[in-house]
């Protein structure tokens, strides 16, 4: 990672907005499209895209997800670099055919005749009392689709740098933003910078247990690591940042060192990122493991509305710390 000297403190959401504006200023082929993107409804007061760039490049769409996602694919094929804000991640499902059969498959199916420089931004609102149809964290199902690059940054620095890389990439990139991170503050370089797609980040160095944490579970993993340090357990926290393709070597290096793996993932348990990483480590680093792998995920049920039911559904510092203690105790 380059080390820019001058930084400023930014909120996660503002880091995204700043990145979008910088990319629109840098390249006039970049434009923003989606439901209510001209409004500060979801972006807040700094989301002045239409004021800065005009209605031609900041396009409010009708509620027609299949049409505007597909239109972005067509525009990307023909010289533009669209960013589609799908807003809630659950709305991706309405455009699923366009994402899978068109965006993901066209380059391959047409023998590389065309490229699709497209970014789809999806925000994941959970822990928000908005129930099953609005609370999904659906990134794992997209990991099973060849032809998609998927990023899920957890800090203001990472969201800005990865989003800018996504816009400059010539392939389809899905950006999953975890809204539980939106108010998180962090240091971000003042000057232009990129975080490369496909590169994990070691968020905390440690020697006893590797915790790979996904998206919104990263701050919880870091909090757990802090608690466990007081108990004499040294935890290494890795954030893959990119989910497709996964930076497998960074994970294997860490497990080779610690011999223990916990994966924390806010997605549902079955076929989660945690499941995939667990399988990879079991296949490729079995000899390094000194205890069974433990996944900390959201259980295999829908997200309920009542706070009494939703509370405790997702990985948090307590459940991650408990998992780490359990693997240390089961050491062979």
């Amino acid at each position: 990672m380059s080390a820019p000297t001058k930084t400023k403190t930014l909120m996660y959401l503002h880091a995204f907005i700043e990145a979008m504006k910088e990319e629109m200023r840098r390249d006039e082929r970049v434009f923003l499209m989606g439901e209510d993107v001209q409004s500060p409804l979801f972006y807040g007061p700094t989301g002045t895209f239409v004021e800065d760039f005009g209605e031609k490049r900041v396009r409010n769409t009708p509620i027609s997800e299949a049409a505007f996602v597909g239109a972005a694919v067509g525009a990307a094929m023909t010289g533009m670099r669209p960013v589609v804000d799908i807003t809630l991640a659950c709305f991706l499902y309405v455009a699923m055919d366009q994402i899978i059969s068109q965006a993901a498959k066209s380059r391959f199916m047409f023998g590389g005749q065309v490229s699709i420089p497209l970014v789809l931004r999806a925000t994941m609102f959970y822990r928000s009392a908005i129930a099953a149809q609005h609370s999904d964290r659906p990134y794992p199902m997209f990991m099973g689709i060849p032809g998609l690059k998927i990023v899920a940054p957890s800090t203001p620095y990472d969201v800005k740098g990865l989003f800018k890389s996504a816009v400059r990439d010539d392939d389809v990139v899905l950006l999953f933003e975890d809204v539980t991170l939106h108010s998180l503050r962090g240091e971000v370089p003042v000057d232009d910078f990129l975080v490369p797609i496909g590169l994990a980040d070691v968020k905390r160095r440690g020697s006893d247990v590797t915790v790979v944490a996904i998206s919104g579970s990263v701050p919880h993993a870091l909090a757990a690591a802090e608690t466990l340090a007081g108990e004499g357990i040294s935890v290494e926290v890795i954030d893959p940042r990119t989910l497709a393709p996964l930076d497998v070597p960074t994970i294997l290096d860490s497990v080779g060192k610690t011999g223990h793996l916990v994966v924390a993932d806010p997605a549902h348990r079955i076929c989660s990122v945690a499941s995939e990483i667990s399988a990879i480590v079991a296949e490729e680093a079995f000899d390094s493991l000194r205890a069974p792998i433990v996944r900390v995920t959201t259980p295999q049920t829908h997200i309920p509305f009542s706070q009494a039911l939703e509370k405790g559904m997702y990985p948090d510092a307590t459940s991650i710390a408990a998992a780490v203690r359990s693997v240390v105790q089961r050491r062979v």
Partner: protein, 329 residues
């Protein structure tokens, strides 16, 4: 004579209609003999509807096709060789053997893809038109579709989007009467697909899909409107497919009399007769027929002499910029 419809253009229309007919007859033969694998959906009988639309477009105008789309790239001027090689699974195929019959797109002639999920091409065409509008070119995008697609949500969403943004799109239906075995009458609550235009504030027109000049004239008008920034149009060409939905699958759903009645208005025979009536020498047309026969034979030879792709080519073309593992293990 309609503006622009000179002898050269009419002979080119005739050549392209024949090229599609002979190409698809060859496909039927190769599928029948077992040399060609996979699904093959033929448009024999629909050549006037295809060519009339294609020749009203410029090479740099965009089009999206369907699962029944061998004719669309040929109609827009594609070389048959890489198309035939694709159908025979060769590396020299237009998609390097990765797309096949249902995805036979040639981007060099303006294709933005042929797609086998019914209705999924509409948004892509809208996107090509949006891009043209944003870049300030006067390109137009034409979406080919069968009448079976008129009940897909993407049809309605795309018509609305194109209309509110005044995008240069021509929605062009080849209504051949049947979606597989399901008739248009039994599946749509309207008499004509073109009637849907009113719901999206755009002109809708029905044309005789067996009359190549009528199709050309209708699309020419729609293209002029689109280039002038006046927005999209919907055109419905009434036509018919002689063969089954796909090669090798038969089921009873239409009468022999119905098929025969349409074959009596075969678009190529009608056009040829018209050309001769208007004074073009039958010798000229015979020569075109001979040229096209040779061209299709040559395309098969080209395909047969081309190598198959290597197995590792199943992993290329997924990404423009593939991301390798960070470092070797």
């Amino acid at each position: 004579m309609l503006n622009g419809l000179d002898d050269a253009l009419r002979l080119e229309m005739f050549r392209r209609m024949l090229r599609i007919r002979r190409f698809e007859e060859m496909v039927a033969e190769l599928v029948g003999s077992g040399e060609m694998l996979g699904a093959a959906h033929l448009a024999i009988g629909q050549e006037a509807a295809i060519v009339g639309a294609c020749v009203a477009l410029r090479t740099d105008d965009y089009m999206v096709g369907t699962h029944r789309s061998h004719g669309h790239p040929l109609g827009k001027g594609a070389d048959p060789k890489p198309l035939m090689a694709e159908l025979l699974g060769r590396r020299s195929g237009i998609n390097k053997g990765k797309g096949g019959s249902m995805h036979l797109a040639d981007f060099k002639v303006g294709s933005l893809g042929e797609t086998s999920i019914v209705g999924s091409g509409f948004p892509i065409a809208v996107g090509g038109a949006l891009s043209a509008q944003m870049r300030g070119t006067d390109q137009v995008a034409l979406a080919f579709f069968g009448e079976g697609a008129n009940n897909e949500g993407t049809f309605h969403e795309s018509m609305n989007l194109a209309s509110i943004w005044k995008l240069p799109v021509v929605f062009y239906c080849e209504n051949n009467g049947y979606a597989q075995t399901t008739s248009f009458k039994s599946s749509s609550a309207i008499g004509n697909v073109a009637d849907r235009a009113a719901a999206y504030s755009m002109p809708g027109q029905v044309v005789d899909g067996q009359d190549v000049v009528a199709c050309w004239a209708a699309v020419t008008t729609a293209v002029q409107r689109a280039r002038a920034g006046e927005g999209p149009s919907l055109i419905e060409a009434k036509t018919y497919r002689y063969r089954e939905h796909s090669e090798g699958r038969t089921a009873p759903y239409r009468s022999a009399e119905e098929i025969q009645a349409w074959q009596e208005r075969d678009p190529i025979h009608l056009f040829r007769a018209g050309l001769i009536t208007e004074g073009l020498a039958s010798r000229t047309l015979d020569q075109i027929e001979a040229d096209v026969e040779a061209e299709i034979e040559a395309s098969v030879e080209f395909a047969r002499s081309s190598p198959y792709p290597n197995p590792d080519e199943a992993f290329t073309d997924l990404f423009a910029t593939p991301i390798a593992a960070r470092k070797p293990r």
